[in-house]
Amino acid sequence: VEITGMSTKWTRRDLIENCITRGLLVAGAPALSQSRLFSLWAETTVAPGKPTPTEVLGPFYKKGAPDTRAMRSAGAAGFPLKIGGKVYNVKGEPVQGAKVELWHADEVGLYDLEGYKYRSRLSLENATEYAVDTIMPGHYDDRPAQHVHYMISAPGHRTLITQLYFATDPFFEGDPDKHFKKRNIVGNRDLIRPVMLFEKVGAPSAAVSFDIVLEKL
């Protein structure tokens, strides 16, 4: 399996080794179920008090995305990725009724502007957690760091526009702390999230937890 970027090709082994050395990978993961592991992982990332930093909307937003958790179709090219998290207010209380809109490029870095591939607008209603099944976005010329765009709104809260980045991205050269300011692409180190890799023979996958903290209006 190869994670393919515009200029760098990393094998999955490179990526995993890199993750382990950076403490980004929970070693020995197969002993636990994915969901259990994912929730353990997620619990460590809650940081209420500070609203999630904002990022630009970007040029490739498209209105009217469907409400779907299954952004990845069966057999789709690209590295399977689960993204999930909770929506909080600055007091650390879970927020209900949020609309979480996500969109990202496909495995070669292209946005779908004809249809709604890799675009979803989730209505959480009574829930406070969101989760999607998608793929790791590709790289493209102008914005070479892999990212997922977010727009989150909730009643009584300020709408948040932001982006999620991946600590495993070759763009960060194995050290996001050192390289996150490279080329002024990433606005805030907090938006670069650790990636957990699952070693299932023949079907490796990744998961990222990204909690959202909204400000009150």
Binding site: T54, P59, Y61, K62, G64, L113, E114, E215
Partner: protein
């Protein structure tokens, strides 16, 4: 036809009023000129003025292409399109500047950006000839990608990355229209010089011609294969030039298209080597030009 390679990045091109020269505003703070027939370089001018030590950067150009606005240090200047001389100078607005436009009569400068204290909200500010802001209005969360002032100077229009189109009265900042009909962002817009249409185009490869009386879509022009980054009406409002870019690799060859406005017909497709930054007609619309990639300028007899 000549293909010009400039020694600096060309941000935008326009023809001189007499059509004899092509003018390019360059990233190194120079206004360069080329012979419109032969493409041979002529005298260039430094864009002097402003407090900063950095070169003057283009921030906007007028509908009629005979003036443009630059930023140096912490001021903005409106300049003559042929000489680069400063007409008026403004203190840089408090906004973190994202995009700008100027009216055809050079009296109005509109800027968009974020206030330092704002989190996600963008603002549009109109500065009039007094040099002071006339109004400041909210302009959505996504940021403004492109703006224009109508030929009569009465309406300011802004297209957002959120795909919304907003129109304000330049007199008082009243929001005249908030059009949410489009799904994707616009990267280019131009009013027809006769004031009948506003053309917008962007990520969905389509040119929308808006009737400026009703603000309804009068026609959709399809046929450009790439996302559209540049657009210009001919001085007689009858023709359009558009140019695009490939979203994956900006170095991919693309096309400049010549359209007939009334029929929506594509009259000509002109291949160019890279992303199109700007397109322009000569005053008699017999010639067209495009700045392409970073340092190239293409010239055509239409």
């Amino acid at each position: 036809m000549p293909e010009i390679v400039c020694e600096a990045n060309v941000q935008t091109v326009a023809f001189s009023k007499d059509g004899s020269r092509l003018l390019g505003i360059c990233q190194d703070g120079k206004l360069r000129a080329w012979d419109a027939k032969t493409g041979k370089p002529q005298a260039s001018a430094n864009l002097e003025g402003g407090a900063g030590s950095e070169p003057a950067r283009l921030v906007a150009r007028s509908l009629t292409r005979d003036s443009f606005a630059t930023r140096t240090g912490n001021s903005l200047q409106i300049r003559d399109g042929e000489t680069g001389q400063i007409f008026r100078q403004f203190e840089d607005p408090e906004l973190r500047l994202a995009s700008a436009t100027i009216s055809a009569d050079r009296a109005l400068l509109a800027v968009s950006g974020r206030l330092p204290q704002a989190t996600s909200e963008f603002t549009v500010e109109l500065v009039d000839s007094s040099g002071k802001p006339r109004f400041r209005v909210p302009a959505g969360l996504g940021g403004i990608s492109v703006m224009a002032v109508s030929p009569d100077g009465k309406t300011l229009v802004a297209g957002g990355f959120d795909a919304d189109l907003r129109a304000w009265s330049t007199a008082n900042g009243e929001l005249l229209r908030h059009i949410q009909e489009l799904n994707v962002a616009m990267f280019a817009m131009d009013f027809s010089p006769d004031g009948r249409y506003l053309a917008t185009a962007g990520a969905d490869r389509t040119v929308y011609l808006w009737d400026t009386k009703t603000w309804k879509i009068s026609r959709k022009l399809t046929g450009q294969a790439e996302m559209i980054s540049a657009l210009s009406f001919s001085p007689d409002s009858r023709l359009l030039l558009t140019g695009g870019f490939n979203a994956v690799t900006l170095k991919h060859p693309v096309e400049v298209l010549l359209w007939q406005v009334e029929t929506g017909k594509i009259l000509r497709r002109m291949p160019v080597s890279q992303r199109v930054e700007s397109v322009a007609f000569s005053p008699d619309a017999r010639m067209g030009a495009a700045s392409v990639g970073t340092t190239k300028v293409f010239l055509w007899t239409l």
